[in-house]
Symmetry: D2
Subunit: 182 residues, 4 copies
């Protein structure tokens, strides 16, 4: 079993990353920082006769990075009560990969994975972040991915998250669980 | 009173646009197609000493287009159970505008507006689109914008939406309401 | 095809009932007013060795009234952002019926039905009523019942609902749809 | 500071109670088991000329038990994806107390309190229990009560909850927090 973390944040060592660090401490993980990749928004060609044209960006290289792993951790700051636009653009593009002959087993592969979400927000994230959690459930349901758990933390200024002992305790629990499965 | 429609879709004459057409029929509106603009993802510098650096893209020109209007209609296809990544990137950038000395009254101006959401999705949008509606409420609450209503339609293939008579009827109702306020 | 309406309200001719009247106008329906029945709260004996004891109240007679019908409309005022306690107690008791040898086909029968929800609330029901709609979806998913649609109306004082033209228009649409299926 | 726990379950030593035990261990709390009281469903007389008639049941005695306390813990099993009908009936009756001259300061008193929710369900409660959490937020927002946190646990058969180490860890965290405030 191996783990990839997909970071949606735009700040180095942001609160979401700090909280995730606790969950993956001492574990070997593939870290994917979406902000370091060029990801174009999807253009919806699901119903175009010629299908999706090739896109000249880094998206496929991210897919190549995560597909080999059994466990995916989506680590995103909560921007405006949802995942970052960067992470949303990444997920939107799955619609293309689902129809991409270069990835004939994309859905089946994703369906074999376990997923976690770690998210940190500043404005009552324990409540206002819940629609995002529901959306991740819908996303994983569609792909057949097993949504194994989520942690919501509260933080706004850099380092804020360190005072969220409940979130850190949950991350520690997750670390134990991940260790047990590796 | 004047109206701007902010389109988040990527397909010309997509289902969301067709449904929105019914709502704005015979009304004068400013149409803003986000796909025609270059909108970079936000980089979170809320807590950087030097603040947000200027960004070289088209984002500000969109803000300039919509700020003069009293009513904003956010028209987005439902991609992966939420607004399109393009629209999300647009909204994420508001965090920058809120701190931009070129827009000192951004929040106050947004707080004077009324907002509507029109969204079309393919996978049980009447239920699976609800978290997105809740997120728009949180967004508008933060800005002080009055969330006046939303219409969810069902459609996937081009033109599908035309068979959603309930959504079209709701759009017709909205048209009457908008006419009454102009 | 035949229709039963299950009313959760406690006020004669309440707003929910008025809105529902529009949806079922000129249709033959079985009207079940839960307030006219004595429904005891469930006592959870799912895991008792002896199972659920018989309960001396009117609950089973309601089940007998609704089971013959193909379409169930759950018409409830929104009390405290959810269905009325009366309707909740009614649904809670399904856990007992699912294990009741007098109703060996309860789940299978419910799974063959179509369901609608009509709900009226006073405090921004279009948004604050959405968690309740999601709960109904979960309930119907569990039973296998097809959740065909919902209408949310706004009203507090008696008759208020009459000014919610959008809700009435949606009820009229539903009426047409119901007519078409009978 | 003092604490009251309001139990919505119907099973002695049910999973919700076991999880709550961890949160309140070694703390002095007032325990209120709703199942031991007769609580009639509300009859909506908010708009009757003569107002709400007196109701001959135990509801007021529950209000008298909880009002003196600073912290209220709502501990409910998740029945059909929401609080138990018993707890719902209890909360529905608040509409009456808000207009009851015997409790002229009901809302103001509730607005001074802090609230927690502890809930255990069997069917993916971490996701399917979220609409209930949102409803509690709406309820507390209306009353002005501060919603300080919630714990969702998974369990169905008696004692199941003991295997939910993440929930127990969260309950332990809550216990520490409660201790700190007493």
């Amino acid at each position: 079993m191996s783990i990839a973390v997909i970071y949606g944040g735009t700040r180095p060592n942001g609160n979401t990353e700090l909280l995730t660090d606790q969950a993956i401490q001492a574990l070997e993980v593939e870290k994917v920082y979406l902000k370091d990749f060029n990801i174009l928004p999807i253009e919806d060609h699901r119903h175009s006769e010629s299908g999706f044209p090739d896109v000249n960006d880094d998206y496929n290289s991210i897919i190549d990075l995560i597909l080999p792993h059994d466990i995916l951790i989506f680590a995103t700051p909560i921007y405006w009560y949802s995942m970052s636009g960067t992470m949303k653009n990444f997920i939107d593009r799955w619609s293309q990969t689902l129809r991409d002959s270069k990835y004939p087993h994309f859905k089946m592969t994703m369906a074999s994975k376990k997923a976690y979400v770690i998210a940190v927000g500043g404005d009552n994230p324990y409540i206002k972040g819940l629609p995002m959690i529901q959306q991740f459930q819908h996303i994983f349901d569609f792909m057949g991915t097993s949504f194994e758990g989520y942690i919501i933390g509260k933080g706004s200024k850099p380092g804020d998250i360190k005072t969220d002992t409940a979130a850190f305790s949950a991350a520690k629990q997750l670390q134990n669980k991940l260790k047990g499965t590796l």
